[in-house]
């Protein structure tokens, strides 16, 4: 359990949060720029010293302003990955990696040099100087360097935001591998919901220095009372279980949790039994009162209307649906809603036009 409470005033900005976060998996600090994500992360690292603050990781106290405790950043077992490349230009890649590694006791080195190098795929870069690396390579080295201090908590400040789409796609798979390979809780700052959807298990929604909500990603994303449901990228993340692969049509079937419902996706074969993350955006879900027939849409699922809410655009409505326990969002026009006479509790058919497999 990571318990954090900070009050910090910087110029015209005030951060005031109190959080209880799981000490495992990936927790995203999500919010628009200026919402206090990075400040919160810096407080956790000890790079900011808020006069009012408390931080405890699994019982170990790093800050308690009431008792006058403040552990300096270099004495905290944290790894920190900065937004832009932060490699030491005067050191080779290998010496950058060893910088933190050398500074912890040999007995505390739970992550070995080779392990980090392999995990981030940077073997071929070791002898180079940072100036000769691409942006994606620099970030991978930065992540490996942070891991090599065998941290109890890995803090990542928008590690992909300085990269173009191609570099992002290059680094993202490495980030996805981290939680599975290492038992280190990760706090991941991002303002890009697609990164959060791919990586996070838990999420804190920040706005103007306040935590609007904190909880499982699967429960926060479908909430209509949060700004997450607004906007073009609103949608849910579903953990599906691979049950079947139709080699003929190259369609993968994934079962929704605790239900008989399945979603089919055109994809390469994946062995049954694997858990995969699916993302369904609200704008890709349409509704029908009766079971649609003669439709080219692959995924037609019986659902129930749970809740309706106004969208940011007055022409639209947001509808929260229930698929035998799995929440789903639909963004439809207010006109359609009135034509269908939607009401909470109503049985309905959800037509999912597109599903993204996040791996």
């Amino acid at each position: 359990m990571l318990e954090a409470r900070f009050s910090l005033s910087l110029d015209s900005f005030t951060l005031d949060v109190e959080l209880q976060l799981p000490a495992h998996g990936v927790t995203a600090l999500f919010g628009p720029s200026g919402s206090g994500k990075t400040s919160l992360l810096r407080c956790m690292a000890g790079l900011e010293h808020p006069p009012q603050g408390q931080l405890t990781l699994n019982g170990e106290c790093w800050q308690d302003s009431q008792r006058g405790v403040f552990v300096a950043p270099h004495q905290r077992a944290i790894g920190y990955v900065f937004q832009e490349s932060s490699l030491f230009d005067h050191l080779s890649v290998e010496d950058n990696l060893l910088f933190g590694f050398k500074r912890i006791a040999a007995g505390e080195r739970r992550i070995r040099l080779n392990q980090a190098i392999e995990l981030l795929g940077i073997e071929h870069l070791l002898a180079r100087m940072p100036a000769l690396l691409s942006g994606g390579e620099r970030q991978r080295v930065g992540i490996a360097r942070a891991l090599l201090t065998s941290p109890s908590l890995l803090l990542m400040d928008e590690p992909l935001s300085a990269l173009d789409a191609q570099r992002k796609a290059e680094v993202l798979p490495y980030l996805q591998r981290l939680p599975g390979e290492l038992q280190i809780p990760i706090i991941y700052v991002s303002h890009a919901i697609d990164e959060v959807a791919q990586l996070a298990d838990h999420m804190v929604l920040l706005e103007n220095g306040q935590a609007l909500a904190s909880g499982e990603l699967n429960t926060l994303l479908p909430r209509l009372d949060l700004p997450l449901a607004q906007g073009d990228n609103a949608g849910v993340v579903i953990n599906g279980l691979v049950t079947h692969y139709d080699a003929d049509y190259q369609l993968l079937s994934l079962q929704l949790p605790n239900s008989q419902l399945s979603i089919r996706v055109a994809h390469q074969p994946i062995a049954p039994g694997q858990q995969l993350r699916l993302r369904v955006q609200a704008r890709d879900v349409s509704l029908s009162l009766s079971q649609p027939e003669h439709s080219s849409i692959l995924n037609l699922l019986p659902a129930q209307v749970v809740e309706l809410a106004a969208a940011d655009n007055p022409a639209h409505l947001l509808v929260r649906l229930d698929l035998q326990g799995t929440p789903l969002l639909a963004r439809i026009t207010r006109y359609s809603s009135e034509q269908l006479g939607l009401y909470p509790g109503q049985p309905i058919w959800a037509q999912i036009k597109s599903v993204a497999l996040l791996g």
Partner: protein, 227 residues
């Protein structure tokens, strides 16, 4: 050989003075530059201005106050006398002290600029990689400030070589003690030995040009420091 043994003695003394002064200034000026680059104290502006004073003051003014301070009636003089060291004017030690003041901004400012250019990020990175404050200074700040340190050394050395006014005020003209090249050139001119003066003066000219050329080639001439 056109140079006399007195000329060589003056050259040797000048090189000694410049080397010792540069070494001491790097030792003392680097922490001062670090403080100036990092502090948010209100003292930053006045201390920074004090460090820059020798850039604009006539060397005779610096020399005059040093002479007064280090003389028998001055506070520094009283101290050195009570320690049994005598007084410092007209000694090589006194000259080193004068040079420290005279060349201070030429060493401190390039280093300060280099530290400021590094910014706080690499130091924060080092802190998250378990490096304590001293460790960060020696293994991150200093290596990254290397170009500034090189510029500071070269400028400090070259500027001390060219010292004249301060030397004349507190050092006088004592062979092997305080008679540096610039003073020796003055002696030659006073004695109408223009040929001798030419050799030394041209030597200084070529030396200074070579130094500045080297700095220009490195592209790191401390423009602000020379201003």
């Amino acid at each position: 050989m056109p140079l006399t043994s007195a000329d060589f003695a003056a050259i040797w003394l000048t090189l000694q003075l410049a080397s010792i002064t540069t070494a001491l200034l790097l030792l003392l000026g680097t922490p001062l530059a670090w403080w100036l680059a990092r502090t948010r104290s209100w003292l930053k502006a006045p201390i920074g201005a004090l460090v820059a004073l020798p850039l604009v003051l006539p060397p005779t003014v610096i020399g005059f106050y040093l002479l007064v301070a280090m003389g028998p009636q001055g506070p520094v003089g009283a101290l050195t006398q009570s320690l049994g060291l005598g007084t410092l004017p007209f000694t090589f030690t006194g000259l080193v002290i004068g040079s420290l003041f005279y060349s201070l901004p030429f060493v401190v400012q390039p280093i300060q600029n280099a530290f400021e250019a590094i910014g706080t990020r690499p130091l924060e990175v080092a802190a998250t990689l378990r490096a304590g404050p001293l460790d960060r200074f020696f293994h991150v700040a200093l290596p990254l400030a290397r170009p500034g340190l090189v510029t500071a050394s070269v400028l400090g050395f070259a500027h001390t070589i060219g010292e004249f006014g301060v030397v004349l005020m507190i050092g006088g003209n004592i062979p092997d003690q305080t008679r540096v090249v610039s003073v020796q050139i003055f002696n030659h001119v006073e004695a109408m030995e223009y040929a001798q003066a030419h050799w030394l003066a041209a030597g200084m000219l070529v030396f200074s040009f070579a130094i500045l050329l080297t700095l220009q080639r490195r592209g790191r001439v401390g423009a602000r420091a020379i201003s």
